[in-house]
């Protein structure tokens, strides 16, 4: 068993990590770190009155003493690698924290956005770019790190549509234009997050920074590594409009897509999605969905309440594939934003890196 630390353990994503890691076959939470406000008391005590999961706090985690996240040395002693789920708004501080942890010999699997555009940090979505982990070698060399490193995962809005799009590109159908309108869950904003006065009988057609992330991050994920550098995908234009809706978990995306040259039939697309398999499935990673893309035939699906839990929250649910009068096709995608889009995605990244030999004891 690997000993695992959660940095930012008291936040929404940190709580989700702790819940999902309960009973994990490879990983055991041995360290919970948070800001100095929470440090020094038991984890159970630190989240009293603000535990948001529907499952209870796992007993053995509840009894761990919360470490101050700035106490790098103590964290490094008590675990083999860390998940970083801090919610600090100051990106520079997040970068420094993650670098300090890596410098202390810890692989850092981050769901924070701070390092997503750092030139030697891979942004992993294992169904798509498991090979980007090779950038870790360069990163280690750049920093002189032997054991530690930093990998990040993309923004939660992207999981709802990028794997289905990638599956078609990989099958030889080059998608060059995407129009994406998201309807995103409130858990994506953490706690307290979105005020209820904005969400009862209302939607908000704006989420700060979200459209830019949704338009740009896919280009790095779908890109290539050449001569030790990331080359962004230069053959794809994405426009995104992001909305906050009164749904607790599950981001939905209405997507239109155009193909550059040949356009597959609807049957062909459905069969590509059905047969799609990738590194996480081939490695049989514990957190991997058996079916990465789940297509639903009913007219009115996917729906957040009914489909966010598909494949333990790790699948992308897709439906309503139909012709589009402006683009070639349109469809609806959905994924669980705090599982697939955050903690579950982070765990899958860690599992991949164990299998690839980057995380070792």
């Amino acid at each position: 068993m690997f000993r695992v630390g959660i940095i930012g353990a008291t936040g929404m994503v940190g709580q989700r990590y702790i819940t999902l890691l309960q009973g994990h076959p490879w990983f055991k939470v041995t360290c919970v770190a948070a800001s100095s406000n929470s440090a020094g008391v038991s984890y159970g005590e630190s989240v009293k009155g603000r535990w948001h999961m529907s499952e209870p706090i796992p007993k053995e985690v509840g009894e761990l003493t919360v470490i101050d996240a700035s106490n790098i040395e103590q964290i490094a002693k008590s675990c083999d690698f860390v998940f970083c789920a801090v919610e600090m708004s100051d990106k520079e501080k997040v970068k420094q924290l993650e670098e300090s942890l890596a410098a202390a010999g810890l692989p850092v699997i981050s769901s924070a956005s701070a390092h997503r555009w750092t030139s030697d940090v891979p942004m992993l979505l294992p169904e798509i770019n498991a090979d980007h982990s090779q950038m870790i070698d360069i990163q280690r060399k750049n920093h002189g790190w032997s054991k530690g490193f930093i990998v990040v995962k993309p923004n939660c809005s992207i999981q709802s549509f990028l794997t289905p799009v990638y599956a078609l590109r990989q099958a030889g159908y080059e998608i060059d234009q995407l129009s994406v309108v998201t309807m995103q869950a409130i858990s994506g904003a953490g706690y307290p997050g979105v005020p209820s006065l904005d969400m009862i009988d209302n939607i908000v057609p704006f989420i700060g920074g979200e459209e830019e992330k949704t338009e740009n991050e896919p280009l790095k994920i779908l890109g290539k590594i050449k001569k030790g550098k990331f080359l962004l995908a230069d053959n794809l234009n994405i426009t995104a409009a992001c909305n906050r809706v009164p749904v607790s978990d599950g981001h939905t995306a209405c997507v239109s897509m155009s193909f550059k040259k040949k356009k597959p039939s609807i049957e062909k697309i459905l069969s590509i999605w059905k047969e799609f398999s990738s590194v996480p499935q081939e490695f049989k990673l514990p957190m991997a969905p058996k079916q990465a893309i789940v297509y639903l035939n009913e007219d009115n699906r996917p729906q957040p309440k009914k489909d966010r839990g598909s494949e333990q929250g790790m699948a992308v649910s897709v439906g309503r594939l139909r012709e589009c009068p402006v683009f070639d096709y349109k469809f609806v995608g959905l994924s669980h934003n705090t599982i697939r889009g955050a903690a579950g995605g982070g765990i899958l990244n860690a599992e991949l890196l164990v299998k690839q030999g980057y995380i070792t004891k």
Copy 2:
């Protein structure tokens, strides 16, 4: 004062008509008709336990006896024209009902969809195609009607974006592609309508028939009349994805648009919208919004709860105009679906037709 009948008076849209017509300077409700189930009792009795407006039932309407909608003769006696707001699913029956009323000498201002594609029935959105009412002359000739006629209004989803698009086209900037994703209020489905189990902690990415209406109806509205026939606009492609969201009133649309040739600047667009004025404003129709397009500068607007009531629910609220990586620009539009998009729009149509001389005493 014109004596007005409401056909389908007990439904959601019928109730909204009654509420909006209270204190109207030209129109007075003198006849309420509904299915035979409701007929014979006072209107107040007929909607007991299912009055959905926040204002109370106007006293004088509450005391009217509900007439069976199939009793054309009695309706014709008691009013000068009618608003048709029936919610019957059988379109043929709606067509027949509306034709019988017109044949009995009644102008029929309908919010039902049955006659929207009838070749001699104008689909009026007075800010855009007030001149389409001339088709009434042909319609009367076709049917041999001297006084009666039928006009319809478009689907409620269209009001949230079509006037801003038209304003730019009219100013010489030809928009040829539109991508529209709507987030529509539950009142659009009537009562009982959408089950709450589908709307608590959920959205539904499908509304039967709505996408087709949103893609096609604008082509008739933006079209021309040549040689007594409607020519559909042939220079505009629209794709629509329609979602139901847990909002009581107010349809929101995320819109991307492309210009065929010259593309105006953002400043130019904002000034066109600000200065936009049209027939309802020029005629100073009582129901007309003073400002037909209200642009909001805040990042996170328009929002249904805050903006649906703008200009007594008759404005289109617009915000977030910004460049689009795939189309030229994107913006967010919003309108009140049971006021601007249904009863208020119907009243505006009637006011226009009075002013144009088609409705007379």
Copy 3:
């Protein structure tokens, strides 16, 4: 394994039975029956577009052919006992259906309300009155049934408070007055059930028949059997006010209680609840909660979203025990209405009756 039939299998409670019985150690669903509308197609087909559980339909149940519920003979052949979860409004028809099934030799474990006040039908809440099953012997004699019988479970609103109240009575502290105000979930009304227009930005302070059930059913459950007849508890007055609130699952009750004579301390009450154990726990029934009454110390608990899943949805969650200026104490109770209050409660009843020897192969 017992072969189990679900009567009313396509409704909300029927779906919950099917979901909860997946992987049950004793019971296997071999028969799904519904109204003639649904009969003749596979179960999967019959609930297409109206499956409301977050788990998918179990494969082997999805492939069963739906039987017409009036086809008693065929049902009797294909199972050892049945859960009756019909949602028909005509109580007489439900009574006849359940009696026909019992007459055909089937134990009928019902969640319908039709037979709750039938003089020889026990209304079981196994934590409280497991011994009431003895009435089955009398019922069988009355009807001349050798194998079949009918038992019912109480209304879903009652589970949120009655076990905590019973635990205190059983410990010798006679509660004689209860004031209960419930805030009940929409799933209790089935599907389509409560219209969303009534539940977005609203509550409804009325649920037909619910207050009477909440006030009266506890008297039968807490009653005794004397000379083959139920004696209602005559030492308890209950007042109930029942409200519908926009929560998908989980009924909450605000309760005040008075003790007839001696009044226990808060510490005493908490210890009685903590140590409470009953027949389902002693029999280690598969569906029994290990802890029947779960007390939460946080000020703001129990909450439906966080606590309805406690003990797989079978616990009663309790919190906020405090002194009451009018009664002696007040507290808040919560239970999952479609698990503890419906299908889960039915399964627990069946498990009890297997253990007691009333259900046999």
Copy 4:
């Protein structure tokens, strides 16, 4: 016209004051004060992005410059009296602020709770205790103030039931026990207030301090003034349980009540409520509801969405009067918490005090 200042003008209640005072026949907003953060810019600027009313900001108020609330002198110059709607958590600071304003010669009509239990400050609910304003004379004497004074209004939860209870007591039917369970709107907590993660698919059975206020404040309001001191009503016991529910505006209360001696019939109660009239009605105060208690006959009323706007939000809506198995009767009450329960109630207090001669120019 009286010149009016709003202290705490940028908060939820402050915004409601500004909205309600638009077009007021006696009062004109000439001064808006807030914390130093907001001071120095125009009011429109200060609430940009956080204006929560559905009506737009009145133009002339939007252009006022926000004054620092600690600048007592400047406030005193620019208005004849003030509404205090500050949301500071430090009660001592609120007390000092209100006393400074009064010392500067300003009548202070407060909706803050700080001074509710100050021995010489009346807590006015004008339908009930308009005569308590006589305590102002004593207050002025105690402080040596000639023109300024402080009056407060009770907590918003109380308006939903206290006037109907008072109407019966006043008619000679002494109610001695009340059990109240409230379901309170989120606007009561201000903005950002309640996190949406707590209000989507959830209720919270706790609001800090609210039960104590609901149980105690009525005793002062229903009390008498003897020898210059408040005597609390000593013949009434109230128990309250307060819940937060996902409703934007409108507090609902489920109430049971017992009469000490003679118990009126249901018909008698209904006629007392119907005929109830009080000082605000007799004085024809502009903000007074014509009908202070509005009884609804439908089974499922009052409901927040439909009834909170009754009498411009100033009525108490009541329904479901029925016998109670534990108390004598039960009913449901509802009032608009930010109108009747906050700003509207404050304005009514000011109108009363003008009429009584306590506020002068």
